[in-house]
Symmetry: C2
Subunit: 436 residues, 2 copies
């Protein structure tokens, strides 16, 4: 067997404990062959990475982003969501070319690999170009075309929903199966009811989930309540959008009835704390969601509202703001947050990974704990959420393949990616501002 | 003149703009000799640091911490403030030795220098040992003995207040003037009224400011309101504790009257967003404070409630949670936050530094912008608050002396410091848990 052994360090196990353990990876199968002490085959491994002083964790799962928006990092800060979208972001997005999408995705992939993320869910346009980056980068992803119908005539609206279904059908299984897809109507307010229903039907036809933005701001909730007299999740239920396997981003403004509907239906929520704070959208009731068993994953959202794709920042944010939201310093503890960024992320997306155990996907990150800001080591779980930063990730492995080793990327060239991204971003802004 | 030139990069100037500029440092005087393009003397500098691709910023000011608590990093997370203090932190603090204080301060100094902080304000015990670390490390600091009188008899209470005054008198001007001091009664609820008055008088006698915890939690506000029928800042005013030069930590639960009292008196607030979130203390009204002209500085608080001493994390937290607190994505913008961590920090503490301009103290940090997570570079101000992390700091300079160059510390040995800190922390916990 062609194997990779990670030896001498600790590992974060699925029960939330950190133990001294080696991890043996079956590189051909892309899976974890064994975990523990005294594993057969470790000494005969094809390749060995010494993890002494490190903790091996599951590759992190960024369950909601718009990866190509890295090109807009820091372009428009400190602006309310509606103004930010309508006056700043949408005009620039209108000028984006498929090449920009690919270059932005490449920059995002570099950043994610460097901070231990192996898997992401992306909602944007020209997803075929994102797919080619995922393939090259060696990452795992769930991709979808974000469809919007408001302000469009019937033909254009229907075409956008159809594109979301077509893209999902075409890309599903790409990159040797590392790419899965979803149909992605943008949100319950930016897609009309008939088109939401078509999206749900289209997703069922091709057996992929639905991903959309839900209850992100008060402005997304109030129009539905006013027009229909029901809450957005009740509306979503009526449309058939609440279902096991579907996952909704944000879920900031949810009432108790809606939280129960999510739990009963098996619909997951992707919590995006940094974006929700930066756009002043609000604080999601994360502990309440966890209490009733909703699967809560973590997402960075796009880099323009974050401004990074680093899930370590996001974990810290989730633990911090979760306590303020609950008014309880014991709420959203570190172990819950780690689960959100790993196993719950994989579960929400229906993808492999997220757990270090025999037979699971070999999606892993090696975190170097030998640093002043991680000393002393009273509690590795605490460190992973509150003190580790993305730059402490030393090695990143996806599907059994090493994507970063000793901070050096193996599949992408960061210098070239940064150079192309800087040039593309400058061109993009020049075009967008020239247009307005 | 013995000079250090930082050439080829950008600099953050006191007006909040980032310009291409060289910085010439007078190393003997510890001051900035000149800033700009085409400066006389740059080519003849004794030493030159190439800052191409970097931005030079003022050394950051951590205006409220308990630096030796690095030894308790991650020891007791996810616990409400009162339980956390009484059941977890205080028993361990009771077992702290002066050696522990020094070792913890050394670890904190290493972490701060590595993340671009040159100056900190510390409230703790055995501050002479912290002073010796500041001296060796080459940092700048404002130190004080935190006095508590509740639960003590009169003699012990008076002795603690007197110690706070004595320590302030003795340490003021130490480390070639890089150390200044304050009298530090712990808070308005943990120090009785007569002792607070004695602290205020003692500080006036030796001409140093007062630093205390104020309005951190509801539990610190309610007893004063119930007992006295006035708000804590009204109480502080009556005691004579509101005055230009004094600076209070936290200021989470402040009403409009109190905010006006702070502004009118010139009392500064040190905002500690991470600690306030992690302990679920609440969200400080930072934009309201800024609106009426209160000087708002930034602090990490102790590492046990953060869990790091990295002001880049703190800046990001301040910008994020400030927006949620105000319900406005335009609140607490990046430029305000940068000022809080630099010029306002120096002003709150009454110390040199915080501004890159001729004649100011040469307290500087060089931030390397050449990284995927800082690409593209639409806005350096945005990056400094939302995307830069402490590990992007390449060089740190305090009082004209290079404390870190190319990530290598010049005054402290991180490996030795980490080793000693790990051993001391393990011993400390064993002693504390053995005692209980």
């Amino acid at each position: 067997m062609d194997t990779l052994a990670l030896t001498g360090g600790k590992a974060l196990l699925p029960d939330g404990t950190v133990e001294t353990a080696d991890v043996l990876v079956d590189r051909e199968g892309g899976t974890i062959a064994a975990v523990g002490g005294d594993i057969d085959g470790v000494n005969e491994a094809t390749e060995t990475i010494d993890t002494t002083g490190c903790v091996v964790i599951p590759g992190l799962v960024n369950a909601h982003t718009h990866v190509s928006m890295t090109l807009l990092r820091g372009y428009a800060d400190d602006t309310p969501l509606e103004t930010w979208l309508r006056e700043e972001i949408w005009p620039v997005e209108a000028a984006l070319t498929p090449d920009d999408i690919e270059i932005g995705a490449e920059l995002g992939a570099v950043e994610m690999i460097r901070s231990g993320t192996t898997t992401f869910a992306d909602m944007y346009f020209s997803e075929d170009r994102v797919a080619s980056v995922v393939d090259r980068a060696g990452m795992r992803a769930l991709l979808g075309h974000g469809a919007v119908t408001i302000g469009k005539d019937e033909a254009a609206a229907r075409a956008d929903i159809e594109e979301s279904v077509t893209v999902a059908a075409e890309l599903d299984g790409a990159a040797d199966g590392r790419i899965r897809t979803a149909v992605m109507p943008h949100s319950l307010t930016t897609v009309g009811e008939r088109y939401l229903r078509e999206a749900v039907e289209g997703a069922a036809d091709i057996d992929v989930p639905i991903h959309l933005h839900a209850n992100e701001t008060v402005d997304e909730v109030d129009p539905i309540v006013e027009e229909r007299g029901i809450r957005p999740m009740e509306y979503a239920e009526g449309i058939g959008a609440l279902a096991e396997g579907n996952f909704f981003a944000h879920g900031v403004h949810l009432d108790a009835t809606e939280i129960d509907l999510l739990a009963e239906s098996g619909t997951s929520i992707v919590h995006c704390p940094a974006s929700n704070m930066k756009l002043a959208s609000g604080m999601a009731p994360v502990q309440d969601l966890l209490d009733v068993g909703v699967t809560v994953a973590l997402g960075t959202d796009g880099a323009a509202s974050n401004n990074d794709l680093d899930l370590f920042d996001e974990m810290r944010d989730a633990a911090m703001v979760g306590k303020i939201a609950a008014g309880d310093a014991a709420a959203v503890p570190a172990e819950s947050v780690l689960r959100m960024a790993t196993a719950a992320g994989a579960d929400a997306l229906g993808l492999p990974g997220g757990r270090i155990a025999e037979g699971e996907a070999a999606d892993l990150a090696v975190v170097d704990l030998d640093a002043p800001h991680l000393t002393p080591a009273h509690d590795v779980i605490s460190h992973l959420v509150y003190a580790v930063r993305g730059s402490d990730v030393r090695d990143t492995i996806c599907n059994g393949r090493v994507l970063m080793r000793d901070r050096e990327l193996t599949t992408l060239d960061p210098d070239r990616v940064m150079e192309r991204a800087s040039a593309a971003a400058a061109d993009l802004i020049a075009r967008a501002e020239g247009d307005t």
